[in-house]
């Protein structure tokens, strides 16, 4: 019997497992193949909804679902954090002490926040002046802080690089701008957006779209701005290039791969700690039989849900071919699709791949129709994780 283990039950992990359950379902039923998904909690979480929590437009409860509801009945589930991996013996060790053998393994443990990497950020967070919305606790604390914020300087600062969802830091100030306007307090609030390089976004097409909109809405920009430290007492962001005072800082903290210790100990990571993969086959370059998809992998495109979803489809097809004894031919070419909210009721999107020309393609004008597209997509996320779309 061949054994496939998927580590991580987020967007990438659930899609790859459920697609396998369909593609090689009869082989699983006949006992020729076993597919097991390992997740550290009983839930699948859908992070894109965290963006809306600070504004009271979503709630943490709406972002998670039991994995047992999402996973196909053919998939075995282990709710037990993966803690170690031996790529020669092809075994995965779980926190409970259980060991799983594998012929093929898919690493899909996502990314996590490491605010402690920026001195002073955690202290400022404890003082309730610096926040983030990239995890549920952070998004809820920011929601509470925003309730009381009626005047002053709000700074959205991209500190970590790489970070997940490259467009959420643009969406936040645009939604905040509209939200403050709705409440009649926008004139009392100054909004500044900071970014580490010498333009407003890494993607040229996004820069060209956002610059006139930010100007029009009165959102100031400060770049290049590389925060090295936060001074919680004076409420100052201290960057390589200068300083910026804030009343409320909304930060994108530094990130690390989920299961970063396991990745390092197993020797499958690059120098930055992300699983090193071939950008087209998504096979780990440092271990046999290991694939990696989504935010924990060093593929060439955004750390976002859409690449995790598309990569999962590619890896499921490759694995199905390998299980059938056929050469795997499916390849990933960097396909990425990101909706971008431009306020409370309009949005645009960026669509690109590894071809540098696609990074310069003009974004469509923001519209309500595209906003509804994003809303509908977020509401139907379990269709994605169940591998149906």
């Amino acid at each position: 019997m061949e054994k496939i283990v998927v580590v991580g039950g987020g967007i990438g992990g659930t899609v790859v497992a459920n697609r396998l359950a369909n593609d090689i379902g009869s082989m699983i039923d006949d006992g020729e193949v076993e597919v097991t998904l390992v997740n550290d909690t009983p839930h699948n979480v859908y992070k894109p909804k965290y963006l809306y929590i600070p504004f009271g437009l979503s709630h943490t409860d709406e972002t998670k679902r039991p994995l047992t509801e999402i996973l196909n009945h053919r998939i075995g589930l282990e709710v037990d954090p993966a803690v170690d991996m031996d790529t020669d013996a092809k075994t995965l060790e779980l926190e409970s002490g259980k060991t799983l053998d594998y012929d093929y393994l898919v690493m899909a443990t996502g990314a996590k926040l490491v605010p402690s990497e920026t001195p002073g950020l955690v202290e400022a967070h404890e003082d309730d002046t610096a926040h983030w919305f990239y995890n549920p606790e952070g998004a809820e604390a920011l929601r509470d802080a925003l309730q009381d914020f009626e005047e002053g300087h709000l700074v959205l600062s991209v500190i970590g690089s790489p970070h997940i969802c490259p467009v959420a830091p643009i969406e936040f100030p645009l939604i905040a701008d509209a939200w403050f306007r709705e409440r009649g307090i926008r004139d009392d609030i100054e909004i500044t957006y900071t970014y580490p390089i010498q333009r407003s976004h890494g993607l040229l097409s996004v820069t060209r779209w956002m610059d006139p909109i930010f100007e029009d809405r009165g959102i100031d920009t400060e770049y290049p701005f590389n925060v090295e430290e936060v001074d919680p007492e004076s409420q100052t962001l201290e960057a390589m290039e200068g300083e910026l005072d804030f009343d409320l800082a909304v930060t994108i903290p530094p990130h690390a791969a989920g299961a970063d210790d396991l990745i390092e100990n197993a020797g499958i990571g690059d120098e930055g700690g992300w699983v090193d993969v071939d950008h087209n086959t998504l096979e780990c370059t440092r271990a046999d039989g290991v694939y990696s998809i989504g935010d924990n992998a060093n593929h060439g495109t955004s750390k976002a849900g859409s690449p995790a979803h598309y990569q999962a489809g590619v890896v499921a097809k490759r694995l199905a071919s390998q299980i059938r004894g056929e050469p795997p031919t499916e390849m990933y070419h960097g396909k990425t699709f990101c909706y971008i909210e431009a306020g409370l009721d309009e949005a645009t999107y960026a669509h690109f791949n590894y071809d540098p020309e696609t990074k310069e393609k003009q974004l469509p004008k923001e519209s309500q129709l595209i906003h509804w597209g994003k809303t509908a997509f977020n509401e139907t996320f379990s269709l994605i994780t169940r591998g149906l779309i």
């Binding site: 970590g160 690089s161 790489p162 490259p166 580490p196 390089i197 010498q198 976004h201 890494g202 993607l203 040229l204 290049p224 590389n226 090295e228 390589m240 290039e241 530094p254 690059d270 120098e271 930055g272 950008h279 060093n298 060439g300 495109t301 955004s302 960097g334 990425t336 960026a350 690109f352 791949n353 590894y354 540098p356 696609t358 990074k359």
Partner: protein, 78 residues
């Protein structure tokens, strides 16, 4: 073959979003002073982006090398 002897390589060939410069910025922040980084990029725009960004920082551009379809940009972290 590169003449430079980098301590670490940041392979950003194919890097679609947010791009090679952001990959480099992230790595520099994690590197010790004195480290020589090699950024591999298939985006020609990096030949301008990276030196422009470095001008505003304390880090040094050492060399840009054309390597048949992609470029290697060497940077010393200070």
């Amino acid at each position: 073959m590169a003449d430079m002897e980098p301590d670490e390589t940041v392979d950003s060939r194919d890097s679609a979003c947010p791009g090679p410069l952001m990959d480099l910025v992230g790595r520099i922040k994690k590197s010790d002073p004195g480290t020589v980084l090699e950024l591999l990029t298939s985006d020609e725009g990096s030949k301008k982006d990276v030196p422009d960004w470095l001008e505003n920082t304390r880090h040094d551009l050492l060399e840009i090398e054309d390597q048949n379809g992609h470029w290697a940009i060497y940077v010393k972290v200070n």
